[in-house]
């Protein structure tokens, strides 16, 4: 883990959950059930930052706000929690529908050294699909947890494979479910784009995924596609070793026609599939995109009463980069404070910086890595947004400072408590306009 910037590493106004929050990554897999081997409040706490207070996302199936939990108590700390975990797994298997059960062990279980593997092995030997992940909250963020859980599923459930690969089949490693509040809509858009370009996709999370069964198909894919500055690269490297799959790493989530078109060409080139289909799709989508953009241009050029220009983004590496890139390079807004709150590992930070240095011809900004919300807010307080209305894409935590500056706050990350998300996306060809609608509706007074 990289160092935080306070003397003590204290955090006020957290922008991420802890490792065990990856229970929500499990909950995002169709027919998978997280089992929390945790204290009584752990899942409750993660639920709020990642789901409820992150656009009031809601959940389906057996995850969400009702994760089976050992609710580890004092007796379990003193005498060991293995019997209780055994009871919990057994009863979860009987009561909850599921094709994969993932036991996530939190701080208590890890610190007292419960032998979770031996409990889980008993069920595995009987043929039940139960696996275990060591996700003590002190190991880091829910993003760390996301990678730990994926690795556990691949190693313990997907297993070894040395059969054929299927040309044109890609494993998608993209938004972190729940953490990225628009993940459902984002997946719809990116999957739509990939399929229309001629690829077959193991979607893995969310509505269009084949769920647990699809995870079994991971080894058959031709390659892995990572769309994020850093989350998922570790997974791709694991799969490269394990299944000899190459991976394509695209750090910038594409927003708007130019980025999305470039994204498609890159992926199609890497896959080596026929370009006719993707080029036809690009043509169709580009025509649509500029049809809409032309109409938007009338408002954008002719609105008499002032529009925001200088903007800040407070968010994780992926979306701080994606939003900054789009607004700066395609709309001509001016980035003045780009604050990255997800604590990316040191080894990725230089490359993340470089992307911000090359947003467009002559457009460069220095991103800052700050996890402590207090310092984020201090930074915004000090930022000069010029003569216009400051625009901040951020979270509920920034609401006080934005109000103080008389700015516009569009909540795009955890926590978000002034926005309801059902099926929304700000990415790709189609999501770009939803983003513009959101920003400029707020700018013209629609809140």
């Amino acid at each position: 883990m990289a160092k935080t910037q306070t003397k003590s590493g204290t955090i006020v106004h957290p922008h991420y959950g802890c490792t065990v929050g990856a229970a929500y990554s499990v909950a995002a897999i169709k027919n998978a059930v997280p089992i929390a081997n945790c204290g009584p409040g752990c899942m409750y706490k993660q639920f709020f930052l990642l789901s409820f207070d992150n656009g009031f996302q809601g959940s389906a199936g057996a995850g969400g706000g009702n994760v089976p939990s050992a609710n580890v108590g004092e007796n379990d700390i003193v005498f060991g929690g293995e019997k209780k975990l055994d009871d919990l797994i057994k009863s979860s298997l009987a009561v909850l529908k599921g094709d994969l059960f993932v036991v996530l062990t939190g701080c208590s279980g890890e610190l007292i050294g419960d032998n979770v593997e031996s409990v889980v092995r008993k069920y595995q030997e009987q043929g039940f699909p139960v696996i275990a992940a060591q996700t003590g909250g002190f190991k880091g963020t829910n993003l760390t947890g996301h990678e730990i859980v994926i690795e556990a599923i691949i190693n313990q459930f997907v297993g070894d494979y040395d059969g054929e690969k299927e040309q044109g089949l890609v494993n998608l490693w993209f938004d972190v479910p729940y953490f990225h509040q628009n993940w459902r809509g984002d997946y719809l858009e990116i999957v739509r784009i990939l399929r229309a370009s001629g690829l077959k996709v193991n979607v893995l999370f969310g509505a269009q995924s084949g769920g647990v069964e699809e995870w079994k198909q991971i080894p058959k894919a031709q390659f892995n596609l990572v769309i994020s500055p850093w989350v998922g690269v570790k997974t791709a490297k694991l799969l490269e070793r394990k299944y000899h799959q190459p991976f394509l790493h695209i750090p910038e989530i594409p927003i708007g026609e130019e980025a999305t078109t470039a994204f498609i060409r890159k992926v199609v080139e890497f896959a080596g599939i026929d370009k006719a289909k993707s080029e036809a799709f690009i043509k169709e989508e580009s025509d649509l995109y500029y049809y809409f953009l032309e109409h938007f241009a009338e408002f954008f050029s002719e609105y008499w009463f002032g529009l925001p220009s200088q903007f800040a983004v407070v968010g994780d590496s992926a979306y701080t980069l994606a939003y900054t890139k789009y607004l700066a390079s395609q709309i001509g807004m001016i980035p003045v404070a780009q604050i990255i709150t997800d604590n990316p590992p040191e080894r990725y930070r230089e490359s993340i910086r470089e992307h911000f240095h090359n947003l467009a011809e002559g457009v460069s900004v220095e991103p800052e890595f700050i996890e402590d919300g207090y310092q984020v807010e201090q930074k915004l307080k000090e930022t000069d947004f010029g003569s216009g209305i400051p625009l901040i894409l951020g979270t509920t935590w920034e609401s006080d400072v934005v109000a103080e500056k008389g700015g516009l706050l569009i909540e795009v990350g955890p926590p978000t408590t002034e926005e309801v998300t059902i099926n929304k996306t700000y990415i790709g060809y189609r999501g770009a306009f939803t983003l513009l609608e959101r920003i400029y509706s707020a700018a013209v007074g629609g809140k």
């Binding site: 955090i11 939990s69 009561v95 909850l96």
Partner: protein, 526 residues
């Protein structure tokens, strides 16, 4: 032996299950629970310094053990929702970052609470020491020391509270010593709170821990009486108590949520302490009574006509306004009755169900029955057979049963949504009233709309019955949404579980799980 007192010399609080005999799983009639609770003799035992809780076997209530549990709250979360919602004090969570992941939820509650209490809106400012793996190995006391200094420097906190988490308790962080050490340096009270999530089987111990810290280190030791001040132990509810108590010449001092340091400190100067919920307020009221001579209101909670009458009378007795209060009570009855009669007409044949914290449910059921709504069942998240006060007239469940009749299906269960298909098969209901997350979305899929009673003061007092009734009319209309959901969305449970009829089957017959799994294996094999 004298009356067993709350011990403010100690920094930690004995858990509710030990102090009061609190249980978290039980199923039967409310009248049976009243009988088994044996409030009066527990109360007497408590006075004698004997067993009120489960210290001795004879005092222990029968309780069910479930092999399957779903996520719940914990005492650490409760401390956030209490101490983390003060306007000018700082809570430091000494923990990994995950313990702070619900800050955003209590922030939402805090901001709404500030609006309802007409205070400036601000985000809460809880610190988290953000502990990592190396801190688990080498200890994290220096991080905590630095965080205390930062809390003072950044926010000029009037008091700094430290909350213990599971991990810091396991690695043995000594928050008491650090609090003592840093208090002179920062020059404000530094209050350790032993609220690690694993320590109590029920989160409500967290209320007691928060209140203990406030009573021990914030409340003025040399009070100057304010004869018109009354403490109301509350959460974030709308300020209805001011209007209710104005005719008795009283000003309200709400505690703990949304309060300032000074408001908490003056609690010892009030003439009395009352609450909307004894589950929440009993510890504070008793501590203030025993240590600062502030009497608590020995009455049922103010829900429905009779209890609200008694509540006012008990307060009137303390402030010497009996006569005026009788007139006030009569006038209030006359004022609200026409509207109540109108509502009763509208609710003819309507049935309701309550899923909330313990004594709050007792009050809500009274309100529903005042409105003519039939209540066949309720789920409470725990049950305290006695409160800290042991006060004669605070036996809320008995009051409900004696005045409004039995509740045939009264269930004690800690937010266990998997039991709901069975629960709603044996009772009929047109809506549920909920607090705490996880239950309403499950009820929703069973076709039942929910009133999320986020503003807990809505049902309080005479007007509370009207407020509740009017909101329920809106909620009943939502049934159309729930019917759509029910038609198209499946439950997350296996066919086997959905075919069962007893919500506590797994507790009563855990061996059945082996049979079910054996059958599942055979099916797979075949």
């Amino acid at each position: 032996m004298g009356k067993r007192k709350i011990n403010l010399a100690m920094s930690s609080v004995e858990n509710r299950e030990m102090r009061l005999g609190t249980i978290i799983a039980w199923d039967g009639k409310a009248s049976e629970l009243v009988e088994q609770s044996d409030y009066d003799s527990r109360s007497k035992n408590k006075e004698k310094g004997g067993c009120a809780g489960n210290g001795r076997k004879a005092c222990r209530m029968c309780e069910l053990y479930s092999p399957l549990n779903q996520q719940t709250m914990c005492a650490n979360a409760i401390v956030e929702c209490q101490i983390g919602n003060l306007t000018d004090c700082i809570l430091i969570q000494h923990s990994p970052i995950g313990c702070a992941a619900d800050n955003a939820w209590f922030n939402l509650a805090f901001k709404l609470g500030l609006t309802r209490r007409h205070k400036p809106i601000q985000n809460l400012q809880i610190f988290c020491t953000n502990l990592l793996e190396k801190d688990m190995v080498f200890g994290a006391s220096d991080k905590l020391r630095q965080a205390i200094r930062e809390a003072k420097e950044r926010f000029n906190a009037k008091a700094i509270f430290i909350s213990m988490s599971c991990s810091t308790a396991i690695i043995g962080e000594d928050i008491d010593s650090i609090a003592d050490e840093l208090e002179p340096e920062v020059g404000v009270p530094v209050v350790p709170l032993h609220c690690e999530g694993f320590r109590s089987k029920h989160w409500s111990t967290g209320f007691d821990i928060s209140q203990h810290g406030v009573a021990r280190q914030i409340v003025k030791k040399n009070p100057v009486k304010q004869p018109d001040l009354i403490n109301i132990v509350a959460l974030w509810g709308s300020d209805y108590f001011t209007d209710m108590l104005k005719p008795l010449g009283l000003r309200v001092n709400y505690m703990i949520d949304t309060a300032s340091y000074d408001e908490l400190a003056q609690a010892s100067e009030a003439v009395a302490t009352a609450t909307f919920c004894h589950t929440l307020g009993s510890y504070m009221a008793t501590a203030l009574e025993q240590h600062f001579g502030v009497p608590q209101i020995d009455a049922p909670q103010p829900y429905g006509f009779a209890a609200t009458d008694e509540w006012f009378r008990a307060i009137a007795k303390i402030v010497g306004k009996e006569e005026e209060t009788e007139a006030y009570i009569q006038a209030e009855h006359e004022r609200v009755m026409p509207k109540i009669l109108e509502l009763r007409e509208k609710f003819k044949g309507v049935k309701g169900f309550v899923m909330t914290g313990s004594s709050y449910s007792h009050g809500l059921i009274s309100v529903l029955r005042e409105l003519g709504i039939e209540v066949q069942g309720s789920i409470v998240f725990h049950h305290d057979p006695v409160y800290d006060s042991g006060a004669e007239h605070q036996n809320t469940l008995k009051y409900l049963v004696d005045n409004y009749g039995d509740v045939p299906h009264f269930t004690v269960s800690k937010t266990q949504a998997f039991q709901l298909p069975q629960v709603f098969r044996r009772v009929e209901t047109d809506f549920v009233i909920i607090r705490h997350q996880g239950l309403a979305p499950e009820a929703a899929k069973l076709g039942i709309p929910a009133l999320a009673m986020g503003d807990e003061h809505i049902p309080v007092g005479y007007d509370g019955m009207i407020r509740t009734g009017e909101i329920l009319l809106d909620i009943l209309a939502r049934k159309r949404f729930n019917q759509v959901l029910q038609r198209h969305v499946d439950l997350p449970y296996t066919e086997w579980w959905q075919a069962q009829n007893d919500p506590f089957l797994l507790s009563k017959n855990p061996e059945i799980l082996d049979e079910v799994l054996e059958q599942a294996k055979e099916r797979k094999g075949a």
